[in-house]
C-alpha cells in the first residue's frame, strides 16, 4: 500500500494533496468549534467529534460521484461537511434551528441532506448497514451504476445487523462499499475486549467480500484504497469492505472521562496526526509553502466563522410545526 511518502509531486498531485489537507482542516476546525460551542452551551445533547479520524472521511469522500449515496454514524459531522453539506447548515442543526440541515429535528447525531444523498446520521450502532444494503439494492434493480458508501465503527462488527448486511450484500452482489472506521474503542470498550477475532477485514472476507485494511491516519493511503474499492464496486464487482485503522484523539462524547485508555497511548497516536503528517510531508517535498498553509488556514477560519454567524442568526421552528413530518405532507408534494 502506497501513501503519503510515495505519492507523486507533479502539479496535479500537489494540488490534490493540498485539497485533501484543506478538507481535513475544515473538519478539524469545525469540530473544535463544536466543542467550544458545546462548552458555551450553544449545543446540547450528545456530541461526538471526529478529531483524529479526518483522513478517513476526507480520503473516501473524494472518490465519490455526486449521485452516490452515503450512510454514516452519529460521529458524522465531518462526513456531512465533506459530502457537501454547508458548515452553516450543520451548525444550525446543532443549535436546533430551522435553518439546520434537518430543521433542528435531528441534531448532532442525525444530519441528513437529500441534495447530497447523505442518508444520516444513524445513532443505532450498525443500524445504517441494512439501509445501505437497501439503497444499493435499489440501484442494482434499477440498473444504475451508483455506489453506496456506509461508514461505521469497529463496534458495529459485534452487532447482528453487521453480519446480516454483509451476507445480503455479498449474496446479492450489491454495489455497496462498507467502510469500517476502526478507532479501537467502541465507546470505552477496546476491540480486544469485545471481539474474539480482531482482524476485521478477515471477517468481511468470510462473507466472500473483497476486503482489505488501510492506514486510516494517512489520507492518501485511504484515498487510494477507497478509489480502488469504489471503482471496483461501480464496475459491477459487488460489495467491497475497507478497514480503516484510525484513532479518536478526543473523548467519545462530551460526557466521557476516558478512564479506559492510557494518556500515553493517546499521545502516541497524536504523533501520527493525519493533518500534521500530510502537511509535513508536503512541506518537506516543496509542495506546500508557508504561504499556501496560511491561505488554507485563513480560508477554513473564514468558513467556520461564517458558519457560526449563520447558526447564531438562526430561528427556532414555530411550536405549531412540532408534529410536521411525522407523516408526509401530501398536499405539498
Amino acid at each position: 500500500m502506497t501513501g503519503t511518502a510515495a505519492r507523486g509531486t507533479g502539479k496535479a498531485d500537489s494540488d490534490h494533496a493540498r485539497h485533501l489537507l484543506h478538507q481535513m482542516l475544515r473538519v478539524r476546525r469545525l469540530e473544535e468549534q463544536c466543542v467550544e460551542l458545546y462548552s458555551a452551551a450553544k449545543i446540547r445533547g450528545f456530541l461526538h467529534v471526529y478529531i483524529g479520524e479526518e483522513a478517513v472521511a476526507a480520503g473516501v469522500m473524494s472518490t465519490l460521484a455526486p449521485d452516490d449515496a452515503v450512510v454514516a454514524t452519529y460521529r458524522e459531522h465531518g462526513h456531512a461537511l465533506l459530502r457537501g453539506v454547508p458548515a452553516g447548515a450543520i451548525l444550525a442543526e446543532m443549535y436546533g434551528y430551522v435553518e439546520g440541515c434537518c430543521r433542528g429535528r435531528g441534531g448532532s447525531m442525525h444530519l441528513f441532506d437529500a441534495a447530497t444523498r447523505f442518508f444520516g446520521g444513524n445513532a443505532i450502532v450498525a443500524g445504517g448497514l441494512p439501509l445501505a444494503v437497501g439503497l444499493a439494492l435499489a440501484d442494482k434493480m434499477s440498473g444504475r451504476s451508483r455506489v453506496t458508501v456506509c461508514f461505521f465503527g469497529e463496534g458495529a462488527v459485534a452487532e447482528g445487523a453487521f453480519h446480516e448486511s454483509l451476507n445480503l450484500a455479498a449474496l446479492w452482489q450489491l454495489p455497496v462499499l462498507f467502510c469500517c472506521e476502526n478507532n479501537l474503542y467502541a465507546m470505552g470498550t477496546a476491540l480486544a475486549r469485545s471481539e474474539s477475532q480482531t482482524d476485521i477485514a478477515l471477517k468481511a472476507a468470510g462473507y466472500e467480500i473483497a476486503s482489505w485494511s488501510a492506514d486510516g491516519m494517512d489520507v492518501l493511503a485511504v484515498e487510494e484504497a477507497a478509489r480502488r474499492a469504489v471503482d471496483a464496486v461501480r464496475a459491477g464487482g459487488g460489495p467491497h469492505f475497507l478497514e480503516l485503522r484510525t484513532y479518536r484523539f478526543r473523548a467519545h462524547s462530551m460526557f466521557d472521562p476516558e478512564r479506559y485508555r492510557d494518556k500515553k497511548e493517546v499521545s502516541r497516536w497524536m504523533e501520527r496526526d493525519p493533518i500534521d503528517t500530510l502537511r509535513t510531508a508536503l512541506e518537506a517535498t516543496g509542495q506546500l509553502s508557508g504561504k499556501d498553509w496560511k491561505a488554507i488556514q485563513r480560508e477554513v477560519e473564514d468558513e467556520v466563522k461564517a458558519a457560526v454567524e449563520f447558526a447564531e442568526a438562526g430561528t427556532p421552528e414555530p411550536l405549531e410545526d412540532l408534529t410536521r413530518f411525522v407523516y408526509s405532507e401530501r398536499g405539498a408534494e
Binding site: A69, G100, C101, C102, R103, G104, R105, G106, H110, F112, D113, A114, F119, G120, G121, N122, I124, G127, L129, P130, L131, A132, V133, G134, L135, A136, L137, A138, D139, M141, S142, T148, G160, A161, E164, S165, N167, L168, L171, T323, R324, F325, V326, Y327, S328, E329, R330, E333
Partner: protein, 326 residues
C-alpha cells in the same frame, strides 16, 4: 367471483407488481417455497427471483434493506413470516422506518409496505401466535392496517403502496382460508377509515382483524335475544378513525372493545380511553373489553381457546353492558 382471503391477497400482490415496475416482494420463503402461508404461491414462477425475492433468515437485514430500497426509489413489499419474528427487526422499524422523515426534517420519506401474519388459533404456541399490532400502533410515523375482509385483503395493498410513508399490514392467520364472494372489479380501498360491518342501535362492538368473524357471530346471537349490536371494524389501528368510533358510541351509548391482544397497555385500552375522554356523557354503561388472557399463548387446544376472545365471551360482555339481560 368466489375467492379466499389468501387468494385475494395474492391477487393484490400480482396486481401491484404488474402495475408498477418499482414494486417487488421480499421475505423468507416467499419465492421457491411459495410463502409460508402460501400467499405468494406461484408468483416466483410468474415474476422470477428478482421481484419475488427470497431472503436469508435476517429480519433486521431485509427489513432494513426494504427501508433502504424505499429510500432509493423502489416500492418494496416486505413479508415477515409472523409478528413474533418482526421483533428481530424492531430496531429497523422503530428507529429507522418510523423516524427518518421526521429526523431529516421532511427530506426522506420511506414508502415501504410490510406484511406479516399475526394472531393465534392454530395451536402454534407462544412464539408464533401473539397479536402485537397494538404495539406497532403506538409508534408515530407508522400506519397500521388490519384487513379483516376479502375486499380489504384485495384492496389495501395498492393504497398502502401509494402511501409515501411506511405501512404495516397485519394478516390474521385464521383469515387466510376464509372464502366468499368478491366483486370481479374489486380494487384499491381507502386505508384511513373504520367500517360499520353491521349497523345497530343498542351497543357498539368495536374490533378489527381476526376477531371480526367472532364479533359478527356474536352480533347475530345478540340479535336473536333482541339486542341490536353495531359492529365497527377499525380496519386501521393508526391513525384511529376517531369520528367513526365516537359516532357509533354517540348512537348506541354503549361499547365493548374486542381485541385479541392482551388487555394491559393495549390498543383496547387506547380505544377505551378515547371513548371515555371524548364521549363520557354519551355513555350509559362503562366501556367493556374482551381481550386475550394475560399469558403467553399456550399450545394445548383447550387452553388456547380459553385464552382467546370467543363468541360466548363477547356475547356475555355485550349483555352486561346492555343491562344484565339473559
Amino acid at each position: 367471483m368466489k375467492t379466499t382471503y389468501r387468494e385475494a391477497m395474492r391477487a393484490a400482490i400480482r396486481d401491484a407488481i404488474q402495475r408498477d415496475e418499482r414494486v417487488f416482494l421480499m421475505g423468507e420463503d416467499v419465492g421457491a417455497y411459495g410463502g409460508c402461508f402460501a400467499v405468494s404461491l406461484g408468483l416466483f414462477e410468474e415474476f422470477g427471483p428478482e421481484r419475488i425475492r427470497d431472503t436469508p433468515l435476517s429480519e433486521a437485514g431485509f427489513v432494513g434493506a426494504g427501508i433502504g430500497a424505499a429510500l432509493g426509489g423502489m416500492r418494496p413489499i416486505v413479508e415477515i413470516m409472523t409478528v413474533n419474528f418482526s421483533l428481530l427487526a424492531l430496531d429497523q422499524l422503530v428507529n429507522n422506518a418510523a423516524t427518518l422523515l421526521h429526523m431529516s426534517g421532511g427530506q426522506f420519506n420511506v414508502p415501504l409496505v410490510i406484511r406479516m401474519t399475526t394472531g393465534a388459533g392454530r395451536q402454534l404456541g407462544a412464539q408464533h401466535s401473539h397479536s402485537l399490532e397494538g404495539w406497532y400502533a403506538h409508534i408515530p410515523g407508522l400506519r397500521i392496517l388490519t384487513p379483516a375482509t376479502l375486499e380489504d385483503a384485495r384492496g389495501m395493498l395498492w393504497t398502502a403502496l401509494e402511501d409515501p410513508d411506511p405501512v404495516l399490514i397485519f394478516e390474521h392467520g385464521t383469515l387466510y382460508n376464509v372464502a366468499g364472494e368478491l366483486a370481479d372489479d374489486a380494487g384499491p380501498v381507502d386505508i384511513s377509515t373504520a367500517a360499520v360491518r353491521r349497523a345497530g342501535q343498542d351497543i357498539s362492538l368495536i374490533t378489527y382483524g381476526g376477531t371480526l368473524p367472532a364479533v359478527l357471530d356474536a352480533a347475530a346471537r345478540l340479535a336473536a335475544e333482541g339486542i341490536d349490536a353495531e359492529v365497527l371494524d377499525l380496519r386501521v389501528l393508526r391513525p384511529l378513525d376517531d369520528a367513526a368510533i365516537l359516532g357509533s358510541v354517540a348512537k348506541t351509548h354503549r361499547a365493548v372493545v374486542v381485541d385479541e391482544g392482551w388487555r394491559s397497555g393495549s390498543i383496547s385500552a387506547e380505544l377505551s380511553a378515547r371513548i371515555t375522554e371524548n364521549s363520557f356523557f354519551d355513555l350509559d354503561a362503562p366501556v367493556g373489553r374482551v381481550c386475550s388472557a394475560e399469558a403467553p399463548l399456550p399450545y394445548a387446544k383447550h387452553l388456547e381457546l380459553a385464552a382467546l376472545p370467543t363468541v360466548e365471551r363477547i356475547v356475555a360482555a355485550a349483555r352486561e353492558a346492555v343491562g344484565a339481560r339473559g
